[in-house]
Structures are given as structure tokens and as C-alpha cells.
Symmetry: C2
Amino acid sequence: MENIHISRIEALRRRMAAEGIDAVIIPQADPHMSEYIAARWQARRWFSGFTGSAGDLVVTLSDALLWTDSRYFIQAAEQLAGSGITLMKDGLASTPSIPEYLLAHPGKNRTVALDAMLFSINAVDALSDALAAEGISLRTDFDAAEGLWTDRPGLPDAPLFIHKEEYAGESASAKLEAMRREAREARADAILFSALDEVAWLLNIRSSDVRYNPVAIGYLYVDAAPGGRARVFVSPAKLTPEVEEYLASQGVDVSPYDTLPDFLSRLPETSRVMVEAARTSGAVRDILGARAILAAKSPAAMPKACKNEIQLEGVRRAMIRDGVAMCRSLMEIEDRMAAGILTTEIDVDSILRRHRSLSPAFFEESFGTIAGYGPHGAIVHYEADEKSNAVLEPRGLLLIDSGAQYPDATTDLTRTICLGTPTPQERRDFTLVMKGHIALARMIFPDDTRGAQLDAIARQFLWREGLSYLHGTGHGVGQFLCCHEGPQSIRLNYVDTPLRPGMIISNEPGLYREGVHGIRCENLVLCTPAMTTEFGRFLRFETLTLCPFEPALFDTKIMTDDEIDWLNRYQARVRELLTPELDHATAAWLAEKTKPLSR
Amino acid sequence: MENIHISRIEALRRRMAAEGIDAVIIPQADPHMSEYIAARWQARRWFSGFTGSAGDLVVTLSDALLWTDSRYFIQAAEQLAGSGITLMKDGLASTPSIPEYLLAHPGKNRTVALDAMLFSINAVDALSDALAAEGISLRTDFDAAEGLWTDRPGLPDAPLFIHKEEYAGESASAKLEAMRREAREARADAILFSALDEVAWLLNIRSSDVRYNPVAIGYLYVDAAPGGRARVFVSPAKLTPEVEEYLASQGVDVSPYDTLPDFLSRLPETSRVMVEAARTSGAVRDILGARAILAAKSPAAMPKACKNEIQLEGVRRAMIRDGVAMCRSLMEIEDRMAAGILTTEIDVDSILRRHRSLSPAFFEESFGTIAGYGPHGAIVHYEADEKSNAVLEPRGLLLIDSGAQYPDATTDLTRTICLGTPTPQERRDFTLVMKGHIALARMIFPDDTRGAQLDAIARQFLWREGLSYLHGTGHGVGQFLCCHEGPQSIRLNYVDTPLRPGMIISNEPGLYREGVHGIRCENLVLCTPAMTTEFGRFLRFETLTLCPFEPALFDTKIMTDDEIDWLNRYQARVRELLTPELDHATAAWLAEKTKPLSR
């Protein structure tokens, strides 16, 4: 039986040949530059059969190639077998980039095509410049799946619901008014928001159009005049009378999702519309033409990142709820191991979901749970499947990275636990990671500090021994929104965003020994004022996550008094805040886990 | 008697009026963008009477204004009194920048003039763009002093001398050949070097045209053809037969300094000459026109910064010599205090110079000594003069920042000592600064780390108490060249230059309490490989400076075992390496100062 992907690509090539196109790029992307993509925009998967979350397909008249990164080399090789598609291993020195490949294979028409709906303005411009330099033209209106993918899913149409002001702490109308001020400051007549979390945050609405991120597929257009109107473009199927009434009360009109191009093209030629160049599609910019004002950063980015007091109250409440579920889950895993009940990595995921689901506030997970046992823990983006699913044995380390969406918070935490008596190497590795975690948690730093300035604080103890981890130390986190939220971060790469009070950020150093084990210790922390002196204002981190660290994994001989003191205070705080919510057995378990350590 | 500066400025205004110029900018600068400026280019001083090392004068037909920073507010106010020149306090929110001022005062001809010899390409372009946006034109060939400053000093003509290969570790011809490879890589036919330290480094020549930096005023043109010629443009008076012969042996021709414009203008129109945009004058670019290739960083920057093993041998030798002079100086200061001999800040400077001069290798100081007693220590760029010169009393802190030029090294160190029994506050402040110094000295970090990633390591203990310092933590240092040398640094601001083996950089955290005291602890460190593991190559710092820290100032109660251990090892190393070079009394003094500390 012929591989179905071969015939799909052949059908695409017939369209290409008919239209004089030499190559098509089919990315893993949606029109909103989202991290999680609805089924409607999974054309790369439909053409190639590859299901990974990152990777772009290039089809030429003679070849088909899929670029993906090291996380997916094995999976892609398996899924592409028999499809005739060549795997291009991104990140290897020997692998050309997509533009490099296209420049080397210009074809006879010297024409590359893509759908600019699926590329940011920055991405289209960079590609177009690179190709133009060699006389290759870029056609930006080519939807590869058109006419071929006959059973293509429609727009997601999960109902919209209101994110109540008791959680949001600020009305949509007030947020929109602030955006209008920003627009006028930039001499814009309006702002168009494409990023789904910004639309949701600005309007105080949520939905479940994609998994893990409770957003709605939509655009938001905000007129800059004081007290002006706003217009959200969403699928009409998503509306309820309650939501329609609510939106109207906030000065927001509603139009069908697919009427945006028409709406934008009818704006007066003199109108100036601000869009964020990194998160708005090239297609939208093409419609706006000279009306577009490209902004390097959305005016919603900083206010969304800096949570208000009401949001933070909700977050603190949710941390207790999530900590309770975590304690119950960790205890159940230990109990099963002690009773000799067969337990796998996938069981760990189910246990976490079951305990979180006990709370009516649980909405869904905030990302796919990573439960990596032993060597699997060293695969940073590991997600167990039926084939890889390991059985837990009474030895070694288990890394559990999980999180939940609640109406009052998005959580994300990682605990590394030992299933037997830990070895000296396991304790040493774990303690080196925790020394960095504690050093960052204890930092006090001046206003205006950038994340890249603090990153080494978390890495210094690993670096001293020639160890490191390749991911960032911290990412921003939304409130009942995206678990990965900008613009702040704590990482090696310099990002010109100051840490500001109200930002929530993860503190997650790790250490991964290939084929042995993986360790990560992750709490969410809140950036908050510490003091003001003659040297200015200083900030600190308040740790938000409430879940005990495994005491058996600490080697207190290599810890300072200050580090042990921080740990003991943290564990005591976890015990104090969670115990009132726990059944007797779990409370006893937690009391045992949080006993003070000493040397 | 009328202030002479009033009449000088009036004479300038007559020239301006005759030529239709509304405003002239007279900067503190030379054609090589140097830190220290020869007398010939001190026109700002000649017009204004202000002697500070930073500050630009603007003269309009009706006003004269001098912009300078907070270091010089008091001095400038005094020196400008009676001149009719308004002091513009740079850095205050209420002070417009020079472009802002010029835009607000365009004059009737809307014409601003300057001498583009004294502005970098980047500076001329930025100013020109800002003015052009408001329809103000910029004339770039106006030498304000021309025809007025009749006794203007000529070009410095100190003799050139050879920086021997036994110090440089690499021949000029080899360095030039490397530059030719860089030029060809950038598709350039030649490189023109304007930065004086690069000319000196590339040719292995030195001179004494300006104080503190042993450079020669000159340009270097390097033809990019393999084995091509180079041409240095210097005042003929600087040449000796030996140097001429030496330069010829390295493939270097010599032309008079002032023939550069003519030489450049005769280059073929198709020729491509690489210049560094930040350190080449706008005037040179104007001559080159379309022949100029602007580089963001000079190809000499990294090789000059990364010292070779022969250079480092010399540096280590010089550190012993400089440490001996420092020990003798510190002991003499203590002896004088004990004997009740009147000693002032200026005396401290003389004592240091006297002890350094005992070595025949001493060439000159590498910058003006800072000896700040008590509150003067809190003035970061303090230099004692007859008026400020404080008498040392048997109490309080004395900050001494000094350095020397030797043929084998440039040194720069700061010690803070106590003249009586230190107070708890003095010990605590000092120890917090030293904890940062030690943390940075002990760092191990991956290849490719930027200085901005390490800066917080030195500040963390101060930040924790709401304290900080406003200067950088570390600057690059040359070899028998500039004490402030790029491109590397360790500071809050992100600079995209990785730390690389062979770089010498200062480690100098501080703490300044206005009106009380200043503390700075500065050693030079060498960046050097530490280890290579499965996580890549790691680097560390080797401390080069050899001079004891004052033991009485440490509060070991707030130090960790690791910190005390580092300190005791450092002091022991200083003792071990310096004692063989010391007389009996100084050796005994050093033994006392370097006794191990404990809690």
C-alpha cells in the first residue's frame, strides 16, 4: 500500500507546477504565532505524517524535506519512513537552514511560495530579503492545503466564557482604555492584537480552542480614540448571549473571524494601525500596507506580565490547591512503590490528573506532563508514550514536571524524587541544582535588572564543577493563560526587558546526565519590592509554589548555613499552608518530608 | 581685567557670523577617539578654561554652554566663573542633551558646525540625522581654533621606540598578516587603523605622546594583499634610524602624519577600506567616501585583548615588581602615621611614585593616582589637588587606586586601608565588597559567557543589603598600553563580547557612602581555561595582582569558609611571591599582613 503522504505531496506538486512554483514552505504555525496549534492549522502534519510540535516542511518539484530539532530526530525518522520525505536535522553544523537550502535549489522559475498567514512579519521580511538578494521571488498567498485537504477541520468553536473580574482584578474596559493611551502615545489610530493570550487578557475572556492554553482564536482591534470602541473577530459559534452582552458592556463589538481582512482593507488609507511585528502575520501587514506601524513590543506585554494584587491573591490561593494535589500524588506514588504495585510513567501522569481533578477549580493541565524516570529524566522535553513508558523501580530518580490551569492561576512546577535510597552522586547532583535554585530565590537586585544578569546566579555551583543545563533558568507565566508567557525571562541570552514587580517567573535550574538521570527543581516566584535605600529601589522574589522538596536528596555537607536555613523555612511554610487542607495521612506524610535538615 | 575666555569666544563668534554659522560644538576629543588627549587638541580648554577630562563646549552667536557630568559639577562651576559660559549638568533630567539644545535654538541660518576630525563616524551620523530631521544643516569642516589659538601646541613628537618581541610575543609582521586575512574575509582591500593603541599594538612600537598611555599619535594603513605593505602616518620628528629600519623590516612604510588625507583621497575609487565606525573620525570617512567599509568592531580588538603566553610571562613578572612597590608604599604610610609625620593625600601619590621609580622598568603611571581619604574616597574619580588635599588622621579609611606602565605590563590596583582601629561599619562595608570580589575571582563559567552575565556575582552581597556601586565591575587592560582597553568588560550593561582566554580584566567592586568613606578592592585577573567536560569548555579567572588586602578590615563572621579560604590562599601567594624580593622590614610587615584569618 502506498504511503498516503506520497500521494498528498504529489497532488501539491501538480498545483505547484500549474502555478509556476518551485518550492513551498509549510510551517508548524497558526495565524497568531501560537505555541499550541489547533487542528485546522496542522497542514504540515497532514502532508508529512510527522506529529512533533516543532518542524517545517519544504516541498519542491523533486524533493520534500522536513526540518526539526534534536528533540524529534528519532520520532521524525520513524514517522517519515516511507513518505519519501528527507529528515533535515536542525542545529547540526552540516544541516543548511531553510533559506540556505532554497538559495541552493532555486528551481527554474526561481519562485518560492508560502502562506503569509502563518509567518510573522519579521519572518516573512527576513526570508524575502534573503531570497531577493539572489533573485528568487517569494509568493506569500499560497495555502498549500487548499483544495487537497478536503476533510480539514474548521475553526475551533469552543464557547467563550468570562474571566471574572474577581480573578482578573481589572475590567476589560479599563485595560482597553490603557491600550488606547499607548496607541495615541505612538501616534497610532488603532492597535490590532493578534496574539491569542493578549486578546484573552485584554477582554477578560477565555475559551478552550487549543489544549493547555485557555484562549480563543481571534483578533482584537482597538480604536485609539479616548472612550473609543473595540472589535473582536471570533467565530460566531463561540458566542453565548451572556458573553455578547458582557462584551457590549465593555465597549466591544463582535465580527466573524474571517471578516478581518475585509475590515482592515476598508480602513481609510490615512489610518495608522499599530501591530507587533513578531506576533502579527505577514498577511495582516500586507492588507494594512502603509497603514501598519510595526512595534517591537506589544503595549499589552508589560501590563499583562505585571499581575495586580487581586490576581496575586488568586495565584496564592491556587498554589495551596495545587500543592495539596501534588502532595497527595507524591504520597500515592510512594505508597504504590512500597506496596509493590506496578507503576509506570504514564500512571504518574494519571495520578497527578486524578488528584488535581478532585478540585472543582481544575480546568485542564497547563502543558503535557513530563514524568521521566531514570535516563528518561535526561530528555528535557520527554513525554511518555505507550512505547517508551517505563516501569518505576525502587531506585533512581524520577523527574515530574507538571502544571494546571485554574481560573485564578496557571501553575508549573517540577520535583525530582528518589524511588530508593539515593546514591552519593544523585544527592550531590541534586544539591548542586538546589544551591542554584536557592541562590536565585534569595536574590535581591535593583530595579531595572534584566533576567540575563541573574541567570549565572542559578548556574554558578554547576559551572564550578564543569556542569550546566541548556535551557533557560526562568520563563514568565500567565494567569489562567499561557504557561510560557513573555516578555520577561531569566536566561543566558540577553533580553532587554526589566524584571518588574508583579511578574511571575519560573526558577528552574536542572542537570541532565545522558543515559543516567535528569534533575530539575522548579518553583514559580513573584517579583516584588524588597526595599528602597539611598541606592534606589530593590526587588526580590517571593516563592509562590508550595510543594516539599525531597529531603533525602540533600547533601547538607555541601550547603551553607544560609542555604539550609532557606530550605528549612521553605519546607516549614509549605507545611504550615498546606496542612490545614490535608487529610490526616497526607499531613503526616508532609510533616515527615518537611522536617528541618541540619549538617 | 576681562576674563580671557570671553574675548576668545567673541573672536570665535566673529568667524561664525562671517561664515553664517549659528552654533559650534567644541568637544574634548582628538582625531583618534582617545581617552587621554594631547595638548594640541585641548581647544575646549583653551576656549573655556575648564580643565576636566570630559565635557563639550557649545558656542552660539549669543550663548556659550559647557556640558559635563557630575564628577565635574563643582570644578566646572569654579573654572567657568566670570567666563560667561553656562554650566549644563549632564545626566540631570532637567538638562537637555546637546542635540536637544541645538534643535531648540536653530538660529537664523539653521547651521551647526564642528570639526569632523574630532567626532567618530557614528557620532557625526547620529548628530547629522537628528539635526537634518528638523532642517538644520551640519557643517563638518570647521576647526574652531583656527586662526585664533596662535600659540597652539604642535603635534606631539616624542620619539618612537620598539616594544620588543620578548614582551610582545609576536612580531608586527605576523600581526599585520593576520589583519590582512581579516580584511580579505570582509572583502576589503585594506584596513585603516585610527585607534592609537591598535596602531601601537600592531606595530610593536610605543611612544609618550600623551600621559599615562604610551602611544604614538598616528594612523596605520594595511594593504590586504597577502604579504602586502603597510604604511604608518606619524610625525617625522618621532623617527629614529633604528625605528625606521625596524619598521622597514616589518614591511611598514612611513609617511608624515598630515599626509593621510592626501593619501586616502588618491586611493582608486574602487578600493574598499575597512574602518571601525566608533573609533574612526567622520573626517576620514568623508575622504574615503564610498570606499569606506564600516566595521562594528576592529579586527585588532580581539587579538589585542587576548594576550599570548609571552605577554603573560611579562605581566606576571611585572606584578611582582609592582607588588613590591605597593608593599613598601603601604608600609611607609603606616610608619609615617605611627611616627606622627604629617602625611597628605598628595604625599601618598608621591610615596607610590617614589617606590615604583626604584625599579628601572618603571615607565610612568598608567593613570592619575586616586588617594581618597574619608569622604574623599566616596568621590569615585577623585584626584587630590592643592586645595582639596586632606591630611591623614589615625582613623577612617583611605582608598588608593593606582597603576604603572612597565615594558612588560600595565598595572591597575586599588587597596582600601584603615588608618586606625576600624569601626564595625567600616569592617562590614569592606567585607561585603570583598565577598563580591572573591565570588567573582572564584567564578568558573562556560566559554562564550559575556561580562554582563557575571556582573551580579560581584554585586549580590551588596544588593542583598540595598547597597550598590554605579561603576562597572571590570574593564579590560592592555600590555604596556591603555589601562582601559576594550572590547571586554564586566558591567551591568550588556556588551556582546565573550570573555576569552588571555583577556586581562579588572575585578573591582566598591561601595561609596557619600560624606563618609569609599571602598574599592581591585585586582587584575586573567581569563584562562578551567576544564573541558561533556558540557563544553569552562573558563576561570587567575588573579594576577599581588598585594595584600588589609586584614583588620575583614569581618570573618559574615564570610563563608570558602571565602576565608580563598583570602588566606591569596594572601599566602602574595607573601610567597613577594618575600624573596623584599628587604627584611618589608618582609616582616608583609608576613604580619598575610597571617591566615579564621572565624
